[in-house]
């Protein structure tokens, strides 16, 4: 039986009267790629933020890599990392300066070697001496991924990991992530709107709507349950509040 990397119990986040997430319970096992799927405002980014300790929950518990994230998150922050289009890097620093600063924050010893390796792997070697603010959206996404991989994390949290990438680059990034996962045994939790990406990468998918988990399973199981050919159709069923039972009955 695989070990649990993430264990979330009764996780709730309220902003005064607004419910961002409500009573989430889920686990993610070592070495798996789990997708968090849901429409805008479903609570995916809120959930990822709480897993990172950037946001404190209103109730519930989060354990990541064996650490209680509400009390001892610093014990494991060096073993995890994340990328998100909602968080930026300083624009006036070069890519190498930005990554170098984060390499130091994560306590990486052979920084130049690691940067060169990631530069080659993610095809950002030529961008290293350019100001981050001058990069295109796709280039910034790749630099964000490089930052997320700097410390070779055991747990990688990715929010829209291929946002702004052209199909060719997005495909290469997905391949790279899969290779990284296969080589390192890392666990990946990704939030995405890209259904193709979810079908390709994820062993397990958590479907969210209005801050709650409404379904969960392997992509193939979800397709079968909803009687659909693609995850996009499953997504639409869930977003439009047609669950597996009503979907079969619907015309």
């Amino acid at each position: 039986m695989s070990a649990t990397v993430i264990r979330v119990e009764a996780l709730t986040k309220h902003y005064q009267q607004v419910v961002a997430v409500e009573d989430l319970d889920f686990t993610v096992t070592t070495g798996s790629v789990c997708g968090l799927l849901g429409g805008n405002g479903a609570g995916k980014t809120t959930t990822l933020s709480m897993l990172l300790g950037l946001l404190l929950p209103s109730a519930g518990s989060i354990s990541v890599l064996g650490a209680d994230m509400l009390r001892e998150r610093h014990r494991v922050l060096g073993r995890m990392n994340f990328s998100s289009p909602y968080v930026d890097l300083p624009h006036r620093l070069t890519v190498a300066e930005n990554l170098g600063v984060y390499a130091r924050l994560y306590g990486i010893r052979r920084r130049a070697e690691r940067l060169a390796q990631l530069g080659a792997d993610l095809d950002i070697g030529d961008l290293m001496h350019r100001a981050y603010g001058n990069l295109s959206a796709g280039q910034k996404t790749r630099v964000g991924l490089a930052k997320a991989l700097l410390n070779a994390p055991e747990l990688l949290l990715l929010d829209e990991p291929t946002a702004s990438l052209d199909p060719d680059t997005a495909d290469r990034m997905r391949r790279y992530l899969m290779e990284y996962k296969a080589q390192s045994g890392a666990t990946v939790l990704l939030a995405s709107h890209n259904m193709l990406e979810v079908e390709r990468l994820c062993d397990d998918v958590i479907m969210m709507r209005a801050g709650r988990i409404v379904d969960r399973g392997a992509p193939s199981a979800l397709l079968a349950r909803y009687g659909r050919q693609t995850m996009e159709d499953v997504f639409l069923d869930i977003a439009r509040e047609r669950d597996a039972g009503t979907r079969r009955a619907a015309p």
Partner: protein, 270 residues
């Protein structure tokens, strides 16, 4: 690849200081801005001193008292700006999420902010102080060791105010960033920069007594006019600064925790 997690890492503080040095190095207008205001103030007050020295018996006792006042006041002002404006950079660049998902601790960020504030203050005020030597034949460095005591105390008070301002801006958003430019002037009239606190009404003297800066400026005048170092004033300033800095750090860390509750580390803005 990763070392065991440590509660404090000088390497992480150094990483943040390096980041702020990169930022400074990338923008020559920012370097110029650091020295511009202290230099203009020094030039202005240098001419005022030259004029007043022939018209004021008090000023004639120690012609450098106004220039020393303006330079030391700028230590406090630059010290405060060095903390708050650099912290605002993190908010402008929407970088707080990355920073605090890393092993960086909030108090390590505070230490990095204080360090870069010291560097920026030395660049800004140091340049003006050196320029005063050829321009007005006045060297603040002639004060000797007491100057170091004054510098440190004013810098620490600037840090405390800088942390409080940063906390307010983290809490209320960048719409409150102008606090950085105005907050410190609330204490200027009662700090006795250019005049003894004895000119203040009694009730304001009580307020002045609670400010480390007023003890420093009284001490400065004792050195320049009476040629004696007032240890009692230094002790007062140090004790008050311990309280102020502790308060500044405590408020900053407390607002930081509140920011995690409110989701402000990811959604910074106005």
């Amino acid at each position: 690849m990763n070392g065991a997690p440590r509660a404090f890492s000088a390497g992480r503080v150094y990483a943040m200081v390096l980041r702020y040095v990169y930022l400074l190095r990338r923008s020559w207008p920012r370097i110029l801005e650091l020295a511009y205001w202290p230099t203009m103030q020094m030039i202005l007050w240098g001419f005022i001193t030259q004029f007043l020295v022939g018209h004021s018996a008090w000023l004639a006792q120690a012609s450098g008292v106004l220039l020393a006042g303006v330079l030391l006041w700028d230590v406090m002002f630059r010290g405060q700006l060095g903390v708050s404006t650099v912290f605002f950079e993190e908010m402008y660049s929407r970088n707080l999420g990355h920073l605090f998902a890393s092993p960086l601790r909030p108090y390590e960020l505070v230490l990095a902010l204080l360090t870069i504030s010291l560097i920026r203050t030395l660049i800004g005020v140091g340049g003006a102080a050196l320029l005063a030597i050829p321009l007005y034949h006045y060297s603040i460095f002639d004060m000797g060791l007491p100057l170091l005591a004054f510098f440190v105390n004013l810098l620490v008070m600037g840090w405390a105010i800088g942390l409080l301002v940063s906390a307010m801006v983290l809490r209320y958003g960048l719409g409150a960033e102008n606090l950085a430019w105005v907050a410190i002037f609330a204490v200027a009239p009662v700090s006795g920069i250019y005049y003894p606190v004895s000119v203040l009404p009694d009730w304001l003297r009580v307020v002045a007594d609670l400010l480390p800066a007023s003890h420093v400026f009284e001490g400065m005048r004792a050195v320049l006019i009476e040629q004696r170092f007032r240890l009692d004033l230094l002790v007062n300033a140090v004790l008050l600064n311990v309280v102020y800095l502790a308060l500044g750090v405590a408020v900053f860390l407390s607002v930081f925790r509140a920011a995690r509750r409110r989701g402000l580390l990811l959604n910074v803005g106005e």
